[in-house]
C-alpha cells in the first residue's frame, strides 16, 4: 500500500468508458506526473483524486483511507488549477486563507500561515490586491500559495504552467521543483508537456485513450518506452520510428532498412533476442540524439554503427543542429553538434548508437523486450 493508491479505477459517462482500470500507487513524497495528449483522461483522473468527479468503479485511497464519495474538502488535498481559479472578488490574502476559514481555522493561525506562505513565495507585497491586478506569474504564485497554506497530504496540479509564456514557464518549473525538494510533499501533476513531465517528476504515467500506457521513472520512460505511442510522445524532437526487417548477419541480428537512395543498409542490433524475429518486419525506434556526427557519438556505447545517408535539410538551433533526412521511407531527424559541417544535399556518414535503439512489434506496437 502506498501513500496515494489508485486501484482499478474506471470512469464512465453513461455508456462511454473514458478511463479503463487505472492502477497507480504513489509513495509519500513522490512527484507523479500524468502526461498525455488532450482527451487522454489525465484531468479526469486528477479530478477523481480530488473528489470533483465520482468514481465509477475501483477505489482511491489516501493514507489508507478510502476516499470514494468523500467530499473534496475532507481529503486533505490542495489543487492548483490551469486558470488558477482565483476568486475575483477577494483580495490575494483572502484567496489564500479562504480554505482555512472554511475549515474553521482561527484567525490568528490563518494570519500566521498566510505570512509564512507569502514570504515563501515572495508575494508579501501583493496580499491586498485583487487577482485582476496581478500578472500571470503572480497569479500562479498566489494559486500555489492557496494550495500550500493548507499543508495538504497531496498536492494536485492541473496544467498549472500552460497559461504562462515560455520564459516564465521555465522559471516557474524550476520553482515548483525547488518547492517540492524543500517541502517533500506528495504531488500529482497533470500536463500535456512532456518536458515538464521529464524535468519535474520522480515518476511519470503516460496516458492515452483512457489507458495508462506506461508508468515509470523518467529515465525508464525515455529509454525503454513500452510502445510506439510512449516512444513518440515523450522526447522532442520525437523518436524516429521506421519499418525495418531483422536480418541475421554472422549470427547477429541486424536491422535492414532502405536509405535515402533506395539502397538497403544494415545496422547491427545490441539486443540479442531479436534473433527470434529473423526475417520478420519490426518497427525500429531511434531517438534523434542517437543519430549524430561521429565526433559526437557516445563514447560509452559499445555499439556505434556507421550510416551513410544524404542530408535533407539542416536546422541549426544554437545548441544543436538538426538534420532531416529520409530513412526507411520516413522523414527522420538526427541531432548533430552545433558546429557540424554537414550541408544540405551532401552524403554524410552518421554515427548511430544502436544501444539506444528499440524495436517494436509492428502488429501490437509494443516494445520487443530484451
Amino acid at each position: 500500500m502506498g501513500f496515494l493508491d489508485i486501484n482499478n479505477v474506471t470512469k464512465s459517462y453513461g455508456a462511454v468508458e473514458v478511463l479503463h482500470k487505472v492502477d497507480i500507487n504513489v509513495e509519500e513524497g513522490e512527484f507523479l506526473v500524468l502526461v498525455g495528449p488532450s482527451g487522454c483522461g489525465k484531468s479526469t483522473l486528477l479530478n477523481m483524486i480530488a473528489g470533483l468527479e465520482g468514481i465509477t468503479s475501483g477505489e482511491i485511497s489516501i493514507k489508507d483511507r478510502v476516499m470514494n464519495g468523500v467530499h473534496p474538502s475532507k481529503r486533505n488535498i490542495a489543487m492548483v488549477f490551469q486558470s488558477y481559479a482565483l476568486y475575483p472578488n477577494m483580495s490575494v490574502g483572502k484567496n489564500i486563507t479562504f480554505g482555512l476559514e472554511m475549515h474553521g481555522t482561527p484567525k490568528e493561525e490563518r494570519e500566521k500561515a498566510l505570512k509564512d506562505v507569502a514570504s515563501l513565495l515572495q508575494i508579501d507585497h501583493l496580499l491586498d490586491r485583487k487577482p485582476g491586478q496581478l500578472s500571470g506569474g503572480q497569479r500562479q504564485r498566489v494559486a500555489m500559495g492557496r494550495a500550500l497554506v493548507r499543508d495538504p497530504d497531496v498536492f494536485l496540479f492541473d496544467e498549472p504552467l500552460s497559461n504562462l509564456d515560455a520564459k516564465l514557464r521555465v522559471d516557474m518549473r524550476t520553482e515548483i521543483k525547488k518547492l517540492h525538494q524543500n517541502l517533500k510533499t506528495t504531488v500529482v501533476y497533470v500536463t500535456h508537456d512532456q518536458i515538464e513531465a521529464m524535468t519535474l517528476s520522480t515518476r511519470i504515467a503516460v496516458m492515452y485513450d483512457g489507458y495508462v500506457q506506461q508508468l515509470g521513472t523518467p529515465k525508464e520512460i525515455y529509454d525503454t518506452p513500452e510502445n510506439v505511442f510512449v516512444a513518440t510522445f515523450m522526447g522532442s524532437p520525437a523518436m524516429n520510428v521506421m519499418p525495418a526487417t531483422v536480418e541475421m548477419i554472422e549470427g547477429a541480428p541486424h536491422a535492414k532498412i532502405s536509405d535515402s537512395e533506395g539502397n538497403h543498409v544494415t545496422l547491427a542490433f545490441a539486443q540479442d533476442n531479436l534473433a527470434d524475429w529473423a526475417g520478420k518486419e519490426i518497427l525500429l525506434g531511434i531517438r534523434p540524439e542517437a543519430i549524430t556526427d561521429p565526433e559526437a557519438a557516445d563514447r560509452d556505447s559499445n555499439r556505434i554503427e556507421k550510416l551513410a545517408n544524404r542530408v535533407g535539410v539542416t536546422e541549426p538551433s544554437g545548441a544543436d543542429t538538426f538534420v532531416t533526412m529520409t530513412l526507411g521511407g520516413k522523414d527522420i531527424i538526427a541531432r548533430m553538434r552545433a558546429d557540424t559541417t554537414v550541408a544540405a544535399g551532401e552524403m554524410f556518414d552518421f554515427a548511430v548508437n544502436m544501444e539506444k535503439a528499440v524495436a517494436f512489434d509492428p502488429k501490437t506496437e509494443a516494445r520487443i523486450k530484451p
Binding site: 465520482g54 468503479s57 464519495g69 467530499h71
Partner: protein, 297 residues
C-alpha cells in the same frame, strides 16, 4: 454507481442539495405552467361556457373556432404584426446600436431615451398613443395647425391600415431594448478580430456586413426570442390603441382568446384558441431551444 460504504453525510448532502434547491421552482413550473396548460387543453374539449365544465365535446370547439371569421382576422393580423414588428425592431435596434457605437457625444443621455419606453406599459401610454395617432387631435391635426394642410395620417381609422399603427407603437416600445442588446453585443466583440479585418482592407461597410453582423448572431437570436414572445403575447397594446377595431380589423389571438373566454362566456372556444396559440409558440420556440441547449452540452 458503485460506491464504497464510506460516503459521509456531508458529501451526500452536498450531492443532494442542488436538486433540493432546484426542486421547488421546478415543481412550481410543472404545476403552474404545464399543469395549467394541460387543464387548458382539457377545457378545449369540453362544453365550458362561463365557468369550467366537464362535459366532453370532442373537437367541436376547434371546428367552431375555424369557422369564426374573427379568428381568421386574428391569425392574419398576428402574422402581419409579428413579422413586421420583429423585422423593424431588429433593423432599428441594430442601426441605433451601430450609430451609438460611433463614439457619440451624449450617448449617456440618448441611451436611456431609447430605452425608457420598455419601462412603460400601454396602460400608461395607451391614451397618449391613441391621441397621437388620432387624425382629429393627434399628429395630423397638429401638422394642419402648423400649416401643413395636406398632411394625412389616419391609419388608425382605416381598417386596412390600423394594424400598422399597432406595429408603430410596438416598435416604439421595444426597439430601444433591442438596441441595448445589440449594443452589448457590439461592445463584446473582440477588438483583435476587427483589427485583423481592417488590416485585410475591409471597408466600414464590409466590416459591418461581413464581420460584425455575423458575430452578433447570439444577439440576433436573443432579440428574436424576446420579440416573438412579446409579439405573441401582445394584448395591452391592442386593447389600449384600438380595442381590436376599427370593426375587428386589429384583433389578435390574445384579444380573441380573452374575449371568448371572459366576455362571451365561450370558455371552450377560448381554450381551443389558447391551445392553437401555445402550439404556435411551441413550433417556434422548441426548435430554437433544442438547438441552443444542445449546442451548450
Amino acid at each position: 454507481m458503485a460506491r464504497a460504504a464510506s460516503v459521509d453525510m456531508r458529501t451526500r448532502m452536498q450531492e443532494l442539495l442542488p436538486k433540493i434547491v432546484l426542486a421547488p421552482s421546478f415543481a412550481l413550473v410543472l404545476l403552474f405552467v404545464y399543469g395549467f396548460i394541460a387543464f387548458t387543453i382539457y377545457l378545449s374539449f369540453t362544453d365550458s361556457r362561463m365557468l369550467p365544465s366537464y362535459g366532453w365535446e370532442g373537437w367541436t370547439n376547434y371546428s367552431k373556432l375555424f369557422r369564426i371569421r374573427e379568428w381568421d382576422t386574428a391569425i392574419t393580423n398576428l402574422a402581419i404584426f409579428a413579422s413586421l414588428y420583429i423585422v423593424i425592431c431588429t433593423i432599428i435596434g441594430l442601426m441605433l446600436a451601430i450609430f451609438l457605437d460611433q463614439k457619440i457625444r451624449g450617448e449617456g443621455l440618448l441611451r436611456p431615451i431609447f430605452l425608457y419606453p420598455m419601462a412603460l406599459s400601454f396602460i400608461v401610454t395607451g391614451t397618449a398613443w391613441k391621441w397621437f395617432l388620432d387624425p382629429g387631435i393627434g399628429i395630423e391635426n397638429t401638422m394642419h395647425l402648423w400649416g401643413w394642410e395636406s398632411f394625412e395620417f389616419g391609419w388608425i381609422k382605416d381598417r386596412n391600415m390600423a394594424i400598422y399603427t399597432i406595429v408603430i407603437a410596438a416598435v416604439w416600445q421595444s426597439s430601444g431594448f433591442v438596441m441595448a442588446m445589440f449594443l452589448a453585443g457590439l461592445r463584446g466583440i473582440d477588438n483583435e478580430i476587427l483589427k485583423a479585418a481592417q488590416m485585410d482592407g475591409a471597408s466600414n461597410w464590409q466590416l459591418y456586413r461581413r464581420i460584425i453582423i455575423p458575430l452578433l448572431r447570439p444577439a440576433f437570436l436573443s432579440a428574436f426570442v424576446i420579440l416573438s414572445h412579446l409579439a405573441i403575447k401582445s394584448y395591452d397594446l391592442v386593447i389600449a390603441l384600438t380595442g381590436g377595431g376599427p370593426g375587428n380589423a386589429t384583433a389578435v389571438p390574445a384579444t380573441f382568446m380573452y374575449s371568448y373566454t371572459f366576455t362571451r362566456n365561450q370558455m371552450g372556444i377560448g381554450a381551443a384558441s389558447a391551445v392553437i396559440m401555445l402550439m404556435t409558440i411551441a413550433a417556434i420556440m422548441v426548435p430554437y431551444l433544442y438547438a441552443e441547449l444542445r449546442e451548450k452540452k
